[in-house]
Symmetry: C2
Subunit: 673 residues, 2 copies
C-alpha cells in the first residue's frame, strides 16, 4: 500500500463540501484551510458554485487536475457511487467520513460490502467509513471534523474509536506534545491499523506510536510489523475488551470477533509493544512522552521533601518492575556536606520536610550532574517551609539543562501545587498528580526500553486460516500418542487391551482407563490406578465397561517428577499460542501458565518455564529432585513446530507430562481438530 | 481520655508565641486568630509584652485563668520544662509542635522519654511531638502552621505524616469537602490514632474518617474501636509500607516495627475499614466523598456518549468488585421512544457519539427518576456534536435535584473538558479525570457500604503481649500432636519407635520419619514412605540414623482427601492471625491462603475456605470426592481458641491436614513458642 500518497496528497477533493457551518462538509474543509494545507483543494457539491473562495465542481470527474485523495462526507446511500467515480477518475486514496455502514446493522453491512468490492476493483486505499478523519503534520493536513485543532509533533496516534481520538485531541491541546499523524480507523473496511504501523516504521517525523484498538483482526501481521517498529521507536497499545465483561461489550460495540485477552497479551509481548490497560495508563504515558528522552539505563532515582510519599512509592516499585539506582560514593560525600545532618543521603533521597527551594536546587543539581542518573522522579508536598513556585522554576531550568534525562515530578496537593503546572510544563517536565501515576508510566516505559533491542523480528507464517472450519473433532487417543511421538514427545508405555493376555506386555504397576472420543477429562471417568500385577489387572479389566466407541487402555505407572501441562491453542488472530504450566488435575485451579507465540526458541521456552510459580519445585526446592527443564523446553519447541506443520489442529493439551531428573514422559494428551 | 476538652478547649496557651512572621510561633497564633476562635488565647513569651493585641505572659503559671490546652513551639531542649509547668498549672492537654525528638536519633529519644514520664506523672494528653497541629471545626480551632487554611466540613482526617497532612489540606482548598477535625499525629509519644478514632465514633460533626498511618502499634485496639466506628460512618485507612521495600523504607522513616502487610489487611478487613493502597486511592475517595450520599444499593449504572470508554470501564468492573444494575422494563420502553433507534437501551447505556446536551438530559432525567438507581457514572468525550458545557450544567442541576444519589462523572480529555470542572463542582458532582479512578473509588465505597452493617464489634483480648520474648523454641514433635488433640484436631496414628517391636503396633502402610527440634521441613530430611508391612518397616528403620536430640517416628499412611494447611502466627500488633490454605509441600509455591483475626466464628471460617482457589477441589470438582469443609472449619475455629488460650505460642502450622469425605486427619504440625 502506498500510504505516503495517502498521508501527503498534493490534491484533495472534498465530496460533500458545504457552506453550512454546522455541517461536517464545512468543518473538514475549514480545518483543512486553517491548517495551511499547501496543495490544491477541490470542493465537490451539486448546488454550490463557490465555497470559501474555492471553485466548486459537480463531481470528481469534472476536475481536470490530478487528485491524490478524496474525502467523502455525504449520506451513506450515495457513497458507493462517488467511490466508483473516484475509481474511474484514478483517485487511489479515499477517506469515508460518513457513517451508516457496518455499525448500523444489516443494511449498512451491505453498503460496506459494496465499498469493499469497489476498493478491490479499482485498487483503492479507503479509510473508514464511519471515521473522524486524518491529521498528517508533514503535509499540513487536518482532515478531521474534531472540535480541537491539530497540533504538530512527533506522536503517531491510531484510534479505532472516534470518541477516544477526540479525547486525545482535546487532552493534547495544552500539552508539550503533538501529532506527526492522527488516524481515526473507523470501520476498517479496507485500510487497517497494520497499514499505518508499517508506514510509521520508516516515517522520520514519528518518534512514538500510540494505538487504541478494539479488535486486532490480523494479529500475525501486527506482530510481524510491530516487532520491527518497536525496536526503533516506542509503540504502546491500549486493547479494550480484555476482561470477559469488556469483551462482550466490545463485541456488541464493534460487531467483531475478539481475540482472547491472553492471546493479545502474548502477541503484544512478542511484538515488543507497551501494553496499556486503561485510559489513565494511556494519558499517563502521554504525560511521560511529553519529555522525549534518550535511553541510558533503567535505574530510577527519587528525591522528596516528604517521607510518607516515598514509602508509598516504594510500595509500588515491585508492581511496576522498577529498580532504584545507587548514589556514587563521591555524590554521597558531596551531598552530606551540603544537606542537613539528619538527612540520610541515599536513593530514595528524603531532603526533609523543612526543605526550601534552595535545598531542592543543591541536591538536584548534584544528582543530575551524575552521568548514571537518567531517570529522576521529584516529589513535593506543600509544607510550611516549602517554596512551591521557586522549586518548580528550579526544576524547569534543570529540565532544559538536561534535555536527555527523564525528569518527572509529582507535586501532591491541590491549590498551591496546581498553580505551578505551567512552570513545570515550560521546562518540559513530565508532571503527574500522584506519584503512582508517574511510577506506573515509568515502569512501562523503562521496561519497554530495556527489552526493545532484544526483540527479534517476527516472520508471519499464516497459522490462523484453518480456524474457519466450525466442527471440533477429537483425535483418537492412541493415535494421538503415536502422532506426538513423531515430534519427539515421549509417552509412557500405553496399550489398547483387547484380550487378557495383552495385560502381560507391560511393566507393573499399571493403570487401566476407558478412553475414546466421548471422554475428555479422564479423571472423571472409569480409571483404576496402581494395579500391582497382571492378576490384579485382569480382575479390574473385567469390571470395566467401555461404551460404544470407547475402549480400554493400560498404561505403565512408574513416573515420578513434577506434573506439567504443555499445549497450544490456535487463536483466530494471533495463530498458535503455546502454553506451559503446572499440570495434573489441579491445572485449572492454579492457572499457573505462561504463554508464547509460535516462533519460540529453546531460550524463550526456558524463560517461560522459569516464570512459572511452580519453577522452584522444578529447580529442586523443598527436597524435591531438580528436574530436566531442558527436556521440557524441547517439548515446548517441538509442540510449536507441530502447530506450524499441522494447520488442521486447533488445540493440543499434553497433561500431565512428568518432568523427571533426566528426560520427560507424557501420560495423557488431547488433540482437537 | 477526655479528648473533647482537647479538641474544644476554652482557653489556649501558645508557649513560644512570636511576633516574627516567619516563625511557627506566629503562624500558629495567627491561624488561630484568623479562624475566629472564640475562647481565650494566652501567648507565652519571655521577651514580648504584647502580640497581636493580646497580653503576653512569661509562663503558663503566670496565667490566673483556666487553660484547657497548651501548644508548645519552642526548641526541643526547653520543651520538657514547659510540659512540667503545664502539669503543675493543671493544664491537661498539650500539643508539642516542636521537632527534635525520637525522629532525630538517640538524644531525641531521651527527650521524648522525658515527655512520656511527665505525661504519666501529671496524667496529660500530649499530641506530638514533631507534628503539624490540629484543626477542630466545632471549636473554630486552627492550631496548625500549614500554609493552607482550615475548611469546615464533615471529614475527620488523621495523618501520621505532616507532609501528607499538608497535601490533603492543600487539595481540599478548592473542593466540596472540609474538615470536622484534622489531626497531625507526629511521633505519637502519648496520644495515638486510636484515641481519635474513639472520639469520632460519637462526634456528631464527623461523617467520614480518613487516616494515613505508617505504623499501627495497637492493632487490637484499632479493631476494637474501628469495628464499631465503621459500622456507623465510613473509615478509610492508607497504611504505608505494605511491600517489603516500602516497609523497609517506613522502618528507617519512622523507626517503628511494622506489622506484616497481611496482618494489616486482615485487621482492616475485620474492622470493616476501607483499605487504600496509594495516594491516588486516597484522593479519589475524597473526590467521591465530596458528594455525601445515603446508601441504597450497590448497583452501578453508566451512561456514555462513547463506546470505547464503556468497554474499558467494563474491563475493570470485576477488579473493582462492582456489579451493574438493570434498567426496568418501563424505563427501557420509555427510553426507546426518546433515543435514536441505533442506541441499544440497556445498562451500560451508550447514547452514541452524536449525542448533544439534549440527549444526555432526556436519558439522565429518566434514569435518575428510577428509585433503584442509586449510583450513576456519566462518561463524556468531547466529540463534534458534544455540548460539553451545556451537558455539565444539566448534570449539575440533576446533582442538586437528587442529592441522595451518588452521581459521578468522567469527562475525558484536556482543554474542553477542563473548563467545566467548576460547573460540575457547583452541583457537588464527584468528577474524575479518568473512568478508572471513578470505578476504583466506587468499588471501595460501595463494597464498604454493602458489608458495613454486617461487621461485628471486635472485643480486644490482648493476644500480643507474649511477643516481647526473643527466643524461638520449637515444641517437641509428638507432644505437639497430643497437645493439638486436646483442641479436637485429630492426628493420624503416630508412634515413636524405640524397638523393632513398636513397628507392630500400626496399621500398614506406614511411613518412617526422623523428627526433632533440629528439623523443621520434614520433606527435606530422612523419610521413607509406603512401607507395606512390619518386615519392610524394620529393614528401613535399621537404616535410619537420628542425630542427637532427634528421634524416629512411624505414622500410618491411609489418608486420602485434599491436602490443606491450617495455622496461625501471632502478630505483634494485631494478635493471632489465623490461616487456612492449600497445603502439602507446594503450600509455599501456591500461596493460596486466607487470613482472619482470632475471634472468628465457624461461619467466617467457612467463608475463608470458600475464598480459597483450591475450594472447587474441596467442593468436588474434577471427579474428586467432595470434602468435609465443616470439619475443616471446626479445626480453624479450634486453632483460634488454642491461640487465645496459649499466649506463649507464637506460631502454629498444621501441614498437611487431609480433608476427607467425612472428617479431617492431620499428619504433621509445628509449634513455635
Amino acid at each position: 500500500m502506498n500510504i505516503k500518497n495517502f498521508l501527503e496528497p498534493k490534491g484533495i477533493a472534498i465530496i460533500g463540501a458545504s457552506k453550512a457551518k454546522e455541517k461536517i462538509g464545512w468543518q473538514i474543509l475549514s480545518n483543512l484551510i486553517d491548517g495551511e494545507y499547501k496543495g490544491k483543494i477541490f470542493p465537490i457539491n451539486l448546488k454550490e458554485k463557490e465555497i470559501a473562495g474555492l471553485s466548486v465542481y459537480q463531481n470528481v470527474k469534472a476536475v481536470k487536475e490530478k487528485i491524490d485523495l478524496a474525502v467523502i462526507v455525504i449520506p451513506a446511500d450515495f457513497v458507493a457511487a462517488e467511490v466508483a467515480n473516484c475509481g474511474e477518475k484514478g483517485i487511489k486514496n479515499i477517506i469515508i467520513i460518513s457513517s451508516g455502514f457496518a455499525e448500523v446493522g444489516e443494511e449498512g453491512k451491505k453498503r460496506e460490502e459494496k465499498i469493499k468490492e469497489l476498493a478491490e476493483k479499482y485498487n483503492l486505499n479507503i479509510l473508514g467509513p464511519n471515521c473522524l478523519g486524518v491529521i498528517s503534520s508533514p503535509a499540513k493536513l487536518d482532515l478531521t471534523f474534531a472540535q480541537a485543532k491539530a497540533r504538530e509533533g512527533n506522536l503517531a496516534f491510531i484510534s479505532q474509536s472516534g470518541a477516544i481520538g477526540s479525547a486525545v485531541l482535546d487532552w493534547i491541546q495544552d500539552k508539550n506534545i503533538g501529532f506527526s499523524h492522527f488516524v481515526s480507523l473507523g470501520n476498517q473496511a479496507v485500510m487497517k491499523e497494520n497499514d499505518f504501523f508499517e508506514f510509521f516504521l520508516k516515517d522520520k517525523k514519528t518518534d512514538f506510536v500510540l494505538a487504541y484498538l478494539e479488535e486486532m483482526e490480523d494479529g500475525e501481521k501486527f506482530m510481524e510489523i510491530v516487532s520491527r517498529l518497536a525496536k526503533v521507536k516506542p509503540v504502546a497499545v491500549l486493547k479494550a475488551g480484555k476482561s470477559q465483561a469488556g469483551r462482550e461489550a466490545a463485541l456488541s460495540h464493534t460487531g467483531s470477533l475478539a481475540a482472547s485477552a491472553q492471546s493479545v497479551e502474548a502477541g503484544l509481548r512478542r511484538a515488543g509493544a507497551i501494553s496499556l490497560s486503561a485510559l489513565d495508563d494511556l494519558f499517563n504515558l502521554l504525560t511521560l512522552w511529553q519529555r522525549k528522552t534518550k535511553y541510558n539505563n533503567s535505574d530510577l532515582f527519587m528525591v522528596s521533601n516528604a517521607g510518607g510519599p516515598l514509602v508509598i512509592a516504594m510500595d509500588s516499585l515491585e508492581e511496576n518492575k522498577l529498580a532504584l539506582g545507587k548514589f556514587s560514593a563521591s555524590l554521597e560525600k558531596s551531598l552530606k556536606k551540603k544537606m542537613p545532618s539528619l538527612a540520610g543521603v541515599h536513593n530514595p533521597f528524603d531532603i526533609l520536610g523543612d526543605a526550601g527551594a534552595d535545598r531542592y536546587e543543591k541536591s538536584l543539581e548534584e544528582i543530575l550532574a551524575e552521568k548514571y542518573v537518567s531517570n529522576l522522579l521529584i516529589l513535593l508536598t506543600p509544607q510550611t517551609a516549602t517554596e512551591v513556585e521557586k522549586t518548580a522554576e528550579i526544576i524547569a531550568r534543570l529540565g532544559k539543562k538536561y534535555p536527555e534525562k527523564m525528569i518527572c515530578t509529582s507535586f501532591i496537593g491541590g491549590e498551591a501545587v496546581g498553580k505551578v503546572k505551567n512552570i513545570l510544563a515550560e521546562g518540559k517536565i513530565a508532571n503527574f498528580s500522584y506519584p503512582e501515576q508517574a511510577l506506573s508510566a515509568l515502569g512501562r516505559f523503562l521496561n519497554y526500553q530495556a527489552q526493545a533491542a532484544k526483540v527479534k523480528p517476527f516472520n508471519m507464517r499464516r497459522q490462523t486460516a484453518v480456524l474457519k472450519k466450525q466442527e471440533n473433532k477429537q483425535e483418537d487417543y492412541l493415535e494421538s500418542f503415536r502422532f506426538l511421538e513423531k515430534y519427539k514427545i515421549p509417552f509412557v508405555k500405553t496399550l489398547a487391551i483387547k484380550t487378557e493376555s495383552d495385560l502381560k506386555k507391560l511393566k507393573y504397576p499399571i493403570a487401566l482407563k476407558i478412553v475414546g472420543p466421548k471422554i475428555i477429562h479422564k479423571t472423571e471417568n472409569s480409571l483404576v490406578l496402581n494395579l500391582k500385577n497382571s492378576e490384579e489387572a485382569a480382575a479390574a479389566w473385567k469390571n470395566l465397561k467401555a461404551d460404544a466407541g470407547n475402549y480400554i487402555i493400560a498404561q505403565e505407572m512408574n513416573m515420578g517428577g513434577a506434573e506439567i501441562i504443555v499445549g497450544f491453542k490456535r487463536d483466530l488472530h494471533f495463530g498458535p499460542i503455546l502454553m506451559v504450566g503446572a499440570g495434573g488435575i489441579y491445572a485449572e485451579v492454579w492457572q499457573d501458565v505462561q504463554l508464547e507465540v509460535e516462533d519460540l526458541t529453546r531460550e524463550r521456552a526456558l524463560a517461560m518455564i522459569k516464570k512459572l510459580k511452580i519453577y522452584p519445585v522444578l529447580a529442586g526446592a523443598r527436597g524435591q529432585e531438580s528436574s530436566d527443564i531442558f527436556a521440557l523446553a524441547d517439548v515446548i519447541v517441538n509442540v510449536a513446530r507441530l502447530a506450524r506443520e499441522n494447520l488442521d489442529i486447533k488445540e493440543l493439551d499434553i497433561n500431565p507430562i512428568f518432568v523427571k531428573k533426566k528426560g520427560v514422559v507424557a501420560v495423557d494428551a488431547r488433540i482437537i481438530k
